[in-house]
């Protein structure tokens, strides 16, 4: 083999790798409605999460394959759909209630960071990585069957207006799920709307959140949404936008990104997470990032599910 003598770095892209934990454990999602119900609601939330969080840690050890597991915990606060309270008021309250329940939050993320963080339009990048599952007969000659702003897990019912315009009466055809087992569970997910400015949907941001936790997001090869701690002289700010998009609260924490994620959520989140799965199974993740994760896992003797959607696990607890 002759060695390549002349190289141009602009012609050979590099992708930086990320440190990885075994499991990224999400301890909750906080919306304004929850906050408005006062500190009791938070206390109840963490009390209900605690046993499942403990179980998730044990499961992480079993799955790591080597008797130990690096688990980092995270918590997501909505500042995208509604802004409430302030970091200065909320963060100590949140940490206090978690601690009272015996939980520690290692990383705190703002939901708006999933749309845009550190000048990078993350949600738009992920949208440009969607490659829709093709229906049978797709030979490459037609563009994706995409309805702008929507993503489904199969084939939609053909539009009746097209058929009528062609002067035919066409009987209704049901939608179908790609790869359905006998019967379809068809889901059509709204990714965003314009009212008037682009607002990403909750499931879409949640899919970005999963990809971030799985260490699969890059911007031109560089990591995005990297955790930052407050400087020692810094206090918690008054506004959410002044807070780092992903705040490291525990210096001794395992890395934020992980081979797998586990999210402990009240069962009302189930439809959202179903939609997340529909999205994740149609995202073409950064190939180099995927390879780095696979190589690291192999070197550690840890098994990582091949498909991205299968790397996300959930506990849905009966909750408010």
């Amino acid at each position: 083999m002759t060695e390549q003598i002349f190289r141009e770095t602009t012609a050979e892209p590099r992708t930086q790798s990320l440190p990885l934990a075994h499991v990224s454990l999400e301890l909750g999602h906080l919306y304004m409605e929850d906050f408005e119900e006062g500190p009791d609601r938070l206390r109840e939330h963490f009390a209900r999460v605690k046993p499942w969080a403990d179980a998730a840690r044990q499961a992480a050890v079993v799955m790591s394959g080597n008797g130990r597991a690096r688990v980092s915990t995270c918590f997501l606060v909505d500042d995208y759909f509604t802004q409430f309270s302030s970091p200065r008021e909320l963060v100590p309250l949140l940490l206090g209630e978690a601690k009272a329940a015996g939980l520690e939050i290692d990383y705190l993320a703002r939901e708006s960071a999933c749309a845009q963080a550190d000048g990078v339009a993350l949600a738009a990048s992920v949208e440009s990585r969607l490659v829709e599952s093709p229906p049978e007969g797709s030979d490459g000659s037609r563009p994706g069957v995409r309805e702008v702003g929507w993503l489904s897990n199969g084939q939609r019912t053909p539009s009746s207006s097209t058929a009528e315009a062609m002067g035919r009466v066409v009987p209704w055809t049901p939608p179908s799920e790609a790869g359905a087992r006998r019967h379809s569970i068809f889901v059509d997910v709204e990714l965003w709307n314009e009212d008037p400015r682009r607002t990403w949907s909750c499931p879409f941001l949640a899919a970005v959140w999963q990809l971030a936790r799985l260490g699969l997001l890059r911007h031109r090869g560089s990591p995005v949404l990297e955790p930052r701690a407050l400087r020692p002289d810094q206090t918690l700010p008054e506004t959410w936008s002044a807070l780092p998009p992903l705040l490291r609260l525990n210096d001794a924490a395992a890395p934020f990104a992980a081979y797998r994620t586990t999210s402990v959520l009240p069962s009302r989140f189930l439809p959202i997470e179903h939609a997340v799965r529909v999205i994740l199974s149609q995202v073409e993740a950064d190939a180099a990032a995927l390879r780095q994760v696979a190589e690291r896992a192999a070197a550690e003797g840890t098994q990582v599910p091949e498909e991205i959607a299968d790397r996300a696990a959930y506990v849905f607890y009966p909750g408010p």
Binding site: E8, A11, P134, D139, G140, A178, E306, E307
Partner: protein
């Protein structure tokens, strides 16, 4: 590492569309990078040696269709076709789409996530025969509907880039688009890369069959882009020289017609510039026969002679004016 089992190495196939970029001035590296920034979160690849070549990030198109064959047994295949746009010297635009046929896809379609982890791979469901596929794919007719069609993916990408707002839609000369459809089979025995066929069909479709040593699919696609680029250059130059009525009486008219050739085309000829050693045998063969560079050099010499003659015989005022 043990050498890969030849019989299990996949076939590569693809199609390249080549066109002049419809803009009065050739794009600089910076503008070219803007034009081909088809994905905000990925790098546009930029190479300036030995000439300026800018390549877009790779885009995927999902397919679930039949594989071509001449005998009518068309196995179903599922996966993704990879595509990219490449701009040479800010002037010649190519859209290239390709896929690797990897056997062992089982008998049923898998969840879509499986295919997305294998970008640019198409998995036949059930059995297929390489020879049948190659003949069916390279048959000069348009591919029937429902059959794997990387050319359609390339065509769409080319159209999309050509419509970009950065382009003033004023091409410096008239030229056509060319289509080059290719298949690369694993090389036999010692694994030396060779070309088995380069055919120009009546409908303008070029078909190429290669035998390749183990190489990155993207490098094989780049080799085919290089073949398509030089085939287009030669085709375009021949047509422009013909249209200029070189050898007819009116030298000034001839020179006016050839001016864009000198301005925009002559410096683009660089066969094999970026082809890695392991794939370089292809150009050597083509240069021996038919001798692409020989034909190119002969045409260039004819043009230069005309320019020289004209310069000698031009009356002064015209010279001062130019």
């Amino acid at each position: 590492m043990a050498p890969p089992d030849r019989d299990r190495r996949p076939i590569l196939c693809g199609e390249v569309r080549t066109s002049v970029l419809r803009t009065s001035e050739a794009l600089t590296a910076r503008t070219a990078a803007q034009l081909l920034n088809l994905r905000p979160d990925e790098h546009v690849l930029l190479s300036e040696r030995p000439n300026l070549r800018v390549a877009s990030p790779q885009l995927l198109t999902g397919v679930d269709c039949r594989l071509p064959s001449l005998n009518g047994s068309r196995p179903r295949a599922v996966g993704t076709v990879a595509a990219r746009a490449v701009l040479t010297e800010g002037r010649v635009l190519q859209a290239s789409a390709f896929a690797r046929l990897v056997p062992g896809g089982g008998d049923h379609r898998k969840p879509w996530g499986h295919y997305l982890l294998r970008p640019g791979v198409v998995e036949p469901l059930g059995r297929h025969q390489d020879g049948e596929f190659t003949e069916g794919f390279l048959a000069a007719a348009p591919l029937p509907g429902g059959v794997l069609n990387p050319g359609a993916v390339a065509e769409r990408l080319l159209d999309e880039v050509l419509r970009h707002r950065l382009l003033d839609q004023r091409a410096p000369f008239k030229s056509g688009r060319t289509r080059l459809r290719w298949v690369a089979l694993p090389a036999a025995g010692d694994g030396v890369t060779s070309i088995e066929r380069f055919t120009v069909a009546a409908d303008g479709l070029r078909t190429v069959a290669l035998r390749v040593a183990p190489a990155d699919p993207s490098a094989v696609a780049a080799l085919c882009e290089d073949l398509a680029l030089h085939d287009w250059l030669l085709t375009t130059l021949v047509a422009l020289v013909e249209r200029s009525r070189l050898g007819s009486g009116d030298r000034e008219a001839v020179l006016t017609a050839l001016r864009p050739v000198v301005d925009h085309l002559l410096h683009l000829w660089m066969p094999g510039a970026r082809v890695p050693d392991v794939l370089s045998g292809v150009w050597e063969t083509l240069e021996r026969r038919p001798g692409f560079s020989r034909q190119w050099q002969a045409l260039v010499q004819r043009i230069r002679d005309q320019v020289a003659l004209q310069t000698v015989s031009l009356p002064r005022p015209v010279l001062a004016d130019s």
